[in-house]
């Protein structure tokens, strides 16, 4: 177990439209990986290729360094973007069915279903027909469907869409819990704040190409560059003059000058000490902190 999923040089076109172009990334065990991209960037296509629902035109998918086989793929857990279960089937029945389709024997499928429904607070709805459940509860059954066969890899397409804030927290906890158990977890989302909160690693995809990939913290730190937030208390309570501040430091530009504080980008060769001096020249220095960009900011930057 605990094998990492690796996509190597995956390409796929639909007619003239190139959906994925030489896509390579890794989903590590024990970590949650956020898969980020604009609508139509190729997230769903990549996930379908991982699951074997679609075939790539080129490239390969490996788990633990070995090519995927049917029995291995059958042990993947999947939550498709277009949610769907049998509306007229009882909740427990369809989980047992899906478990068995994934290769469980009847007894194990029953046991897992029972445990999952209890865990998700749906034990009393086990014998209800799915479409009589509220949408939130149907979503929980959908999660159970991805987990019922103890998957060795979890792939979830937009697992947070349509969830209320409490359900979002529960879903986040669930993903982390599975990751902590050693299962590589890949999920897509365009709610970047959420991704930032939940995931350890990030893959950013744009127009079918991976534009950034790696540990979320490292990515942010690497993109942090030389950006500082400066706050100065001036005599008489006058606001900080951001333009004067930047003008005093060679190569510096103002990113944001409002609210009595300035965000200044020092560029590649700007000097922090010059910035400190320029700030002191205006008054008492109250704050000078390096600014780490949020994922959303990085995303906007790389996808632009």
């Amino acid at each position: 177990m605990d094998r990492e999923l690796r996509l190597v040089g995956i390409s796929r076109s639909f007619g003239d439209h190139v959906a994925l172009d030489d896509v390579s990334f890794t989903v590590r065990p024990g970590r949650t990986t956020g898969f980020v991209g604009a609508n139509g960037a190729g997230k769903t296509t990549a996930m379908r290729i991982i699951l074997g629902v679609l075939a790539p035109d080129a490239g390969r998918v490996e788990l633990g360094g070995e090519p995927l086989t049917l029995p291995v793929r059958a042990r993947f857990g999947y939550m498709p973007e277009e949610r769907g279960l049998y509306p007229k089937m009882k909740v427990a029945d369809q989980l047992i069915y899906l478990g068995r389709v994934h290769g469980l024997d009847l007894a194990t499928a029953r046991r897992n279903t029972e445990a999952l429904l209890a865990e998700l607070g749906l034990a009393d709805r086990a014998d209800d027909v799915l479409h009589t459940l509220s949408l939130g509860n149907q979503q929980r059954v959908q999660v159970a469907a991805a987990l019922v066969h103890d998957p060795i890899l979890l792939v979830l397409d937009e697992p947070f869409s349509g969830l209320d804030p409490i359900a979002v927290d529960a879903m986040g906890a669930l993903l982390r819990e599975r990751a902590a158990a050693g299962v590589p977890v890949l999920f897509s989302s365009h709610q970047l704040e959420l991704v930032e909160r939940v995931c350890d690693d990030v893959v950013i995809i744009d127009h079918g190409r991976v534009v950034a990939a790696g540990e979320a913290q490292e990515l942010r730190a690497a993109r942090a560059g030389r950006r500082y937030r400066v706050r100065v208390a001036r005599d008489g309570g006058a606001p900080l003059d951001a333009a004067a501040l930047a003008a005093a430091v060679p190569g510096a530009t103002v990113v944001d000058g409002g609210n009595g504080a300035a965000v200044v980008d020092l560029g590649t060769d700007g000097d922090e000490q010059a910035l400190v001096a320029a700030a002191l020249a205006q008054g008492a220095l109250r704050e000078l902190t390096p600014v780490v960009p949020t994922l959303a900011e990085i995303f906007r930057e790389v996808v632009r």
């Binding site: 049917l70 793929r73 498709p80 949610r83 279960l85 049998y86 089937m89 068995r100 389709v101």
Partner: protein, 421 residues
């Protein structure tokens, strides 16, 4: 690599049977399915038991009679009706279709004095009709609404016989000469290969089989198509094809529905056979059992051959409402062979059609029981159907795989072939 292949193969059968099991479970809970099965059971039971009961029932007819000639005719009619009861023992239901001669009946009568109002008697007394007249040539059969057909036939026959006898007597014929005219000796009938006593005609068996096949393929074909499109419509199909190859999913659906179709037919035919035994027609049971082997084989092959196409019809639709248009071709492929098997067509065409894969499942078994065929003929036809079935399974799997993930509208078969996703 070999481990991978054997691992995949060893999972195929359990997965296919799980899919088939779900199809069966869904069907068993389907109210429409249960209703049709019960309805068919009742129909079959009625069809086997009722005719027997009907043939055994000899109608009692009571007639009011006024006039000498009327009395004479009714006496003879009653004798003819009674004679028929002795000679015609109750036969199989099929004999009802070919009954000839005079009907059996218990005719009783009350004599009415001349001058009594017959209309009043018909209204007040328990008689079905009144026969009036002093002359054979001016008899009147009066009834309120309807003259019982047995009475009408017997009275007509009696009156004819008496008039003929009178005419014969007038022209001075002897009794022998008269008999030679009215009851000429019929040619002796000799059957070289007589059908067993109490059996039904092979045409009838072929008809029943054609009807059952038609009904099964239509209802279960539609249910396969529905099951496919429901999975598309509810999007659950993406979870399923992530867990197994599309071919397995298709195979499970076809297998489950084949089991149910054969099971339903077995239950219905079984009920018919039990009904026949209860009604005392074990000869018929033996005949059916003897000729059912080829029927069953062709039923299975034909069903599997067509059911894959139904699955494709389902996968080309994206909503249940579109099924009727995407399955139109399948419906024609079922209806045309049905009529080809049921309609009277000439021998040569029948022979050709019994080898055409779509009509063979109906026409070859029909020819076996009806015309008698060489031993190799059904084998060749079965192989042709089997080959077509394999071809259609492969074609169906490809079209199904190419279209099953396309959830946003109707597809053309050509698009499915190219695999539009």
């Amino acid at each position: 690599m070999s481990g991978q292949v054997s691992g995949a193969v060893s999972r195929a059968w359990p997965t296919v049977s799980v899919v088939a099991g779900r199809e069966i479970a869904v069907k068993l809970r389907d109210k429409a399915f249960i209703f049709t099965t019960v309805f068919m059971l009742l129909l079959v039971t009625a069809a086997t038991v009722l005719p027997v009961l009907l043939t055994q029932r000899v109608p009692d007819v009571r007639v009011a009679v006024q006039g000498d000639a009327a009395v004479e005719v009714v006496e003879l009619a009653a004798r003819l009706g009674a004679e028929e009861q002795e000679t015609s023992a109750p036969q199989s239901p099929a004999d009802l279709l070919v009954l000839t001669g005079l009907p059996a009946a218990n005719i009783s009568w009350v004599t009415v004095e001349p001058g009594v109002d017959v209309d009043r008697i018909l209204e007040q007394e328990d008689v079905s009709a009144a026969l009036l007249g002093d002359e054979l040539t001016s008899l009147q059969l009066v009834s309120l609404r309807e003259v019982p057909s047995e009475l009408n036939t017997l009275v007509t026959a009696a009156s004819a016989e008496l008039q003929a006898a009178e005419a014969a007597a007038r022209s001075g014929l002897t009794a022998e000469e008269f008999a030679a005219i009215t009851q000429p000796t019929a040619p002796a009938v000799e059957l070289l290969e007589p059908r067993e006593e109490g059996t039904i005609p092979p045409e009838f068996i072929a008809l029943v089989f054609a009807f059952l096949f038609y009904l099964s393929v239509l209802t279960f074909g539609m249910s396969i198509a529905q099951s496919v499109v429901e999975e598309k419509q509810s999007r659950v199909v993406e979870l399923l094809v992530a867990a197994m190859p599309v071919r397995w999913l298709l195979a499970g659906k076809v297998l489950g529905n084949t089991i149910m179709a054969v099971g339903q037919v077995a239950v219905i035919v079984g009920a018919g056979l039990v009904g026949a035994v209860v009604a005392g027609q074990s000869a018929l049971v033996g005949q059916l059992a003897a000729s059912s082997g080829w029927f069953v084989l062709f039923f299975l092959l034909g069903f599997v051959m067509l059911s894959c196409l139904w699955a494709v019809g389902g996968s080309l639709a994206s909503r249940v409402e579109e099924l009727s248009s995407t399955t139109a071709v399948m419906q024609i492929l079922v209806i045309v062979p049905f009529f080809a098997a049921v309609m009277p067509i000439d021998e040569g065409t029948r022979q050709v059609l019994s080898y055409v894969p779509f009509t063979a499942p109906l026409l070859m078994p029909a020819r076996i029981v009806h015309d008698g065929v060489a031993a190799w003929e059904p084998v060749v036809a079965a192989v042709l159907v089997l080959a077509t079935a394999v071809g259609l399974v492969l074609l169906g799997a490809r079209l199904y795989a190419g279209s099953v993930l396309h959830t946003s509208g109707r597809l053309k078969a050509a698009q499915a072939w190219r695999g539009v996703a």
